[in-house]
Structures are given as structure tokens and as C-alpha cells.
């Protein structure tokens, strides 16, 4: 085997600790101060990236690409941290990373970018991504990319991939009730949408960062403008429903009293 070409699709999302407030813009719904919000690499995509790097490390001759659609300036900021994690080559697309964009348009842009990677060899191609984004959270983009690339094998909610000598692999996908669907696939090409996988976040490695940044800056410079918008979605309202509860704070009760109250509540 000559190793895999592992293409990871992943973009930026607002830091989960930020408070989000919807606003209406000429392009459709958006977030208040969206350009100012601190961003992180979409968490499930990040897991996919770490799994990709781990697989590439185990399979000689493999290479990892990160295809990322987002505002160029914010992608540059994001790469200052992400690029220190694992080795990859960035393919940047300059466009909106909003959660309100239509997955169909985003998938078309990602598939076109993947297909345009120089020297792409489908017989060695594994496309990774998150099982859903923390922004749109639709869980459909990777399947649409899969179809657009003409790939027949797709796996969702992946937590494990085990490669065999002959290029085939076994996959565990999350299904209902805390169970896994176990499958085997004859080999690449395939698309895998990852859940959390089993790897911790790699520590920052300045040497990896320096090596990556040599390719990151040129990629950002030539990032293709990509008009990802709301597509055919007609939004009527976006809102944060009131969720404030009147919390009763119990701080002077004995352990016995608290336990009794909890048990009564459970049993009612």
C-alpha cells in the first residue's frame, strides 16, 4: 500500500463558552458581533483531524489535508493554534462559516475543493469530517460530499477505524442506546464522519506548527472566494427561547433531608 490521502473537512465555530445572540443581516440570520467572536476548530472535526494524523502516522506514505471553509482572516487566526497540533496541508476556502448556511452549498464547495487537490488518487482517498458541526449541527454535509465525489461507502458517528494489511478496514459507528454498529469495508475510497474517536487532543508542537505554517499562509493567500449562503432556506425567525428558571437553592438542609427530598422527587 502507498499510504492514504486523508482529507479532513473542518471549519471554525464560535468558542462554546461564548454567549450567542441571533441577529438579522442582509444575507440572512447571523450572530451578533460574529466577526469578533473567538473561534475554535469545530470539535467533532478536530477529533477527525487527530484521528487522521494518527492513521497517517501508522501508514507510511500517507498525507493529511485539511479543507476548511471560513472567513480567511478568521481561518488565519485559527491556524495559529490548530497548525501546532498535527501535520497537515491546508486547503482554504474563503466564505461564511455560519451555522445558518445551507449544507448543500457547503458540500458542493468542499467536494469541488477535494476533487481539485493535485494528484488526488481515489483508490487511496479517505475523507474524514465531524459527524455534525457545532454550528449548523445538521449531520448531512459529509454524506453530500460523499455523493458528489461518487464514493459509495459512508460511516457516521465513527469512534474507531482499524486498518488491515490488505487495505480493508473495520469501523465502529455509534448507534442508539450506547451501542456500536460494527462493519468492515473493502477499502478506500470511503467517507467517515467522526464522533469523538478515542484520542486525546495532541499537545502543541511548535516544530509541527512551523512546518505547517509554510503551507498555511500560501493556502490562505490563494483561498478561493466561496459564496456559501442560506441557499433555498427561507428563515422566518431565529431566537433564543427563554430558558431562565427560578432556581430554588437549598443550602441549609441536612444530608438526610436532601436525600429524602430527592428520592421523593425521583419516585413521583
Amino acid at each position: 500500500m502507498n499510504g492514504f490521502q486523508i482529507v479532513v473537512c473542518g471549519s471554525l465555530v464560535p468558542d462554546p463558552l461564548q454567549t450567542l445572540e441571533p441577529v438579522t443581516t442582509p444575507q440572512g440570520p447571523g450572530l451578533k458581533n460574529e466577526t469578533m467572536l473567538p473561534s475554535v476548530l469545530d470539535p467533532w472535526s478536530a477529533h477527525a483531524l487527530y484521528e487522521a494524523a494518527n492513521l497517517a502516522k501508522q501508514t507510511a506514505g500517507s498525507k493529511v489535508y485539511l479543507v476548511s471553509l471560513g472567513p480567511k482572516a478568521k481561518l488565519q487566526q485559527l491556524m495559529m493554534t490548530v497548525a501546532q497540533k498535527v501535520p497537515f496541508e491546508l486547503v482554504a476556502l474563503d466564505g461564511s462559516a455560519s451555522g445558518f448556511t445551507d449544507a448543500h452549498g457547503v458540500a458542493a464547495a468542499l467536494a469541488d475543493a477535494i476533487a481539485a487537490i493535485p494528484g488526488l488518487d481515489k483508490s487511496r482517498l479517505l475523507v474524514f469530517g465531524g459527524c455534525a458541526s457545532a454550528s449548523r449541527d445538521a449531520g448531512v454535509t459529509m454524506q453530500l460530499v460523499c455523493e458528489r465525489l461518487g464514493i459509495r461507502d459512508f460511516f457516521a458517528g465513527v469512534d474507531e477505524i482499524k486498518m488491515a494489511e490488505d487495505g480493508s478496514f473495520a469501523v465502529l459507528e455509534r448507534i442508539e442506546g450506547g451501542e456500536y454498529l460494527a462493519s468492515t469495508c473493502k477499502g478506500a475510497p470511503a467517507v467517515l464522519a467522526w464522533a469523538t474517536g478515542n484520542l486525546p487532543e495532541p499537545p502543541n508542537n511548535p516544530q509541527v506548527g512551523m512546518a505547517n505554517m509554510r503551507g498555511v499562509m500560501p493556502s490562505l493567500m490563494k483561498a478561493k472566494p466561496t459564496p456559501a449562503g442560506v441557499g433555498g432556506i427561507a428563515y422566518e425567525a431565529t431566537e433564543i427561547p427563554p430558558q431562565k428558571r427560578q432556581t430554588r437553592i437549598v443550602k441549609d438542609a441536612s444530608t438526610d433531608e436532601i436525600a429524602k427530598e430527592i428520592v421523593e422527587w425521583i419516585n413521583n
Partner: protein
């Protein structure tokens, strides 16, 4: 009104999952004629089981190729069923099987698709849907003019359909599966051991454990073994489902000693699940994600932790008990 199809699948035993019955209720709620299409083992018998749902026609694919959930064959079968029905609006349950395969089917029939639908209504011939964005933080209402339009419904939103069985006279739809559709082979389902099964979607109570269980306690010592025993004892007695904060499962990934029965599968919140349970209790948990995101669909919420000013419990929980969770849960277990 668009021609509507309720697209369902069977389970391994040939029955329809609860989520499929919920989809029938949703289809009927639109107040317009609809067809039912079912794929999977025993699809014809499953159609008979829901014959009384009011569908105008039934279509099925029960080829051995769709006996197991597999992307390529499921997408091909769903494509054939949608095309056979001529449906412009397709409602389907948001099960793992359909969440995996229906986006592919949507592409093949030139349809738009939206998922995680939590509300649906049709007024004046227009269909409107609601779903959450940014992981249950922003609720959006929207519609699409393009057809066909596939909508995957979140489970627990509609009541399961109940009604009489009968002869559905389902029309079998032929699908030309290719060898390429069978490159993937399902080898089975991996279930946790019965005593290790801590995720129970139908449980009345969600118990969320935070990282505090693995921190030094007031005697300056770790009590991780005791924490594990207390939690497992409670789960067994209350038949609760176990959730975890991200920080707790991350500890395990970082190689530190933690609760051995806890995995990323238990995680609720931003990169975890958003389960639906009538009640939930969080312990030793201070993060935003369990309270704001993971608890979005928990009706009654209580929390036990040592910080009366916990910003994420206050305003998110109905009751906050300021107490030592080790002591409280030991007493709770004794009473249960």
C-alpha cells in the same frame, strides 16, 4: 400541499422503532393524504402492522441487502421508494440508520434535506419546520420552496402512533443493488455487558456526573473507587441513564485515573448527546455544556454541588442542593 411520504425502516426483529411510529403521527398531523414507505427486513409485515394509520398507499423494500443498516444499500432503497411514491415532502425518523443514509438519498433524488426537526406545521399549503442551531442554543423556524424536501424528525417530539393492523397490500419496490453497494459488510452490534449498560434512552431520569467526582475531596484524598460504586449503585436502583460532562471523560483520555465505566458515549453537551428524559439530576458538575446544551430537553432538573453561586446551575436547574454529592448519593442509595 405537497404529496407527502412517511419513510420508515424496520429494526432487526422486523418491527418498527418507536421513532418510526412518531413519524406516522407527524405525517397524519399535517392533515393531508400521505403514503408510507418502509425499508428493511420484514417491511411488508411492518406495513400491515400500521395499516390503520390512514396512509393512501404502502411501498416496501425488504430485499436481503437492506436487512442490515448500510449506507449504500439504504440510500439506494430510500431513493427507489421516494421515486416510486412521487413524494415531494418526505418525513422520516431521525434514527442513526436514516441520519446516516437519507442525506445520500436526498442528493440522488435532487432533494433538499433538513434534520433534527422539532416542530412541524402546515398552514395554507405551506410547510414550516423548526430546528435548533449552534447545538441547541438558537431555535430557527424556516421553510423551503424547493421540492422534494426531506425532513428528519427528532425522536420524542411526536407521540408514537397507535392503531389497528390490517392488510396493507404494500407494493414491493425493486431495487437494482450493485456489487459496489455491498463493499461494506455489517458484522454485528457491539453492546456493553448488561451490567455495564449505563445509557438508557427510555429512562425517566438522567444522572449527570461531573469531574468533581474525581477531584480531591474534603479529606484531601481522591475517592474515585467510592465515587464509581455510588454512581453504579444509584443507576441500578433508579434505573437511570448516565451522562457525563466533557471534562470528566476527557480526564480518562488524558490517562488520569477516573471512572472506568464512563466513556465519550456518555457525554452530554457540546460534543455529546442531548438526550430527552422527563427528569435529570447533575452532580459535581459546573460546566456550561451539561446545563445549557445537554439539558435542553430535560424537563425537571436538579443539581447537587458545593457551590451555591454556580452560575450554570442557577437559572438552569429547578433546585440546587448545596451539599457534598458523596454524602447525598450514599443516603439516596440507602433510601432507594
Amino acid at each position: 400541499m405537497s404529496k407527502t411520504l412517511a419513510l420508515l425502516h424496520t429494526q432487526a426483529d422486523g418491527s418498527l422503532p418507536k421513532a418510526a411510529l412518531e413519524t406516522l403521527t407527524a405525517a397524519a398531523s399535517l392533515g393531508q393524504p400521505f403514503d408510507v414507505a418502509i425499508l428493511g427486513a420484514g417491511a411488508s409485515a411492518a406495513a400491515d402492522a400500521v395499516q390503520g394509520c390512514g396512509a393512501a398507499a404502502f411501498h416496501t423494500v425488504d430485499d436481503p441487502a437492506v436487512a442490515q443498516p448500510r449506507y449504500a444499500t439504504d440510500a439506494a432503497a430510500a431513493t427507489a421508494l421516494i421515486q416510486a411514491s412521487g413524494a415531494e415532502l418526505v418525513l422520516a425518523p431521525g434514527t442513526s440508520r436514516f441520519a446516516r443514509s437519507l442525506p445520500g438519498a436526498a442528493h440522488r433524488v435532487g432533494a433538499q434535506i433538513d434534520t433534527h426537526i422539532v416542530a412541524l406545521n402546515a398552514e395554507g399549503g405551506a410547510v414550516r419546520a423548526q430546528r435548533w442551531f449552534y447545538r441547541q442554543r438558537i431555535l430557527g423556524a424556516f421553510s423551503r420552496a424547493a421540492r422534494p424536501w426531506l425532513l428528519l424528525l427528532d425522536t420524542g417530539v411526536f407521540a408514537p402512533w397507535q392503531g389497528a393492523a390490517g392488510a396493507a397490500n404494500a407494493q414491493a419496490v425493486a431495487v437494482a443493488f450493485t456489487d459496489d453497494d455491498r463493499r461494506t459488510a455489517v458484522t454485528g452490534v457491539q453492546k456493553p455487558a448488561a451490567d455495564a449498560q449505563t445509557i438508557r434512552p427510555d429512562a425517566k431520569l438522567l444522572f449527570v456526573a461531573g469531574a468533581g467526582w474525581t477531584k480531591k475531596q474534603k479529606d484531601g484524598q481522591f475517592h474515585i473507587g467510592e465515587a464509581g460504586a455510588l454512581i453504579l449503585d444509584f443507576l441500578g436502583k433508579a434505573q437511570a441513564s448516565l451522562g457525563s460532562s466533557k471534562s470528566l471523560v476527557d480526564i480518562q483520555g488524558e490517562g488520569q485515573e477516573t471512572l472506568t465505566f464512563m466513556s465519550h458515549m456518555n457525554q452530554v453537551g457540546q460534543t455529546g448527546s442531548t438526550p430527552r428524559h422527563p427528569k435529570g439530576i447533575a452532580t459535581c458538575c459546573h460546566g456550561e455544556e451539561p446545563h445549557a446544551v445537554g439539558w435542553r430537553f430535560i424537563n425537571e432538573r436538579r443539581a447537587v454541588n458545593l457551590d451555591p453561586n454556580c452560575g450554570w446551575a442557577q437559572g438552569k436547574a429547578d433546585v440546587l442542593y448545596v451539599a457534598d454529592a458523596f454524602e447525598v448519593m450514599a443516603k439516596v442509595n440507602a433510601l432507594l
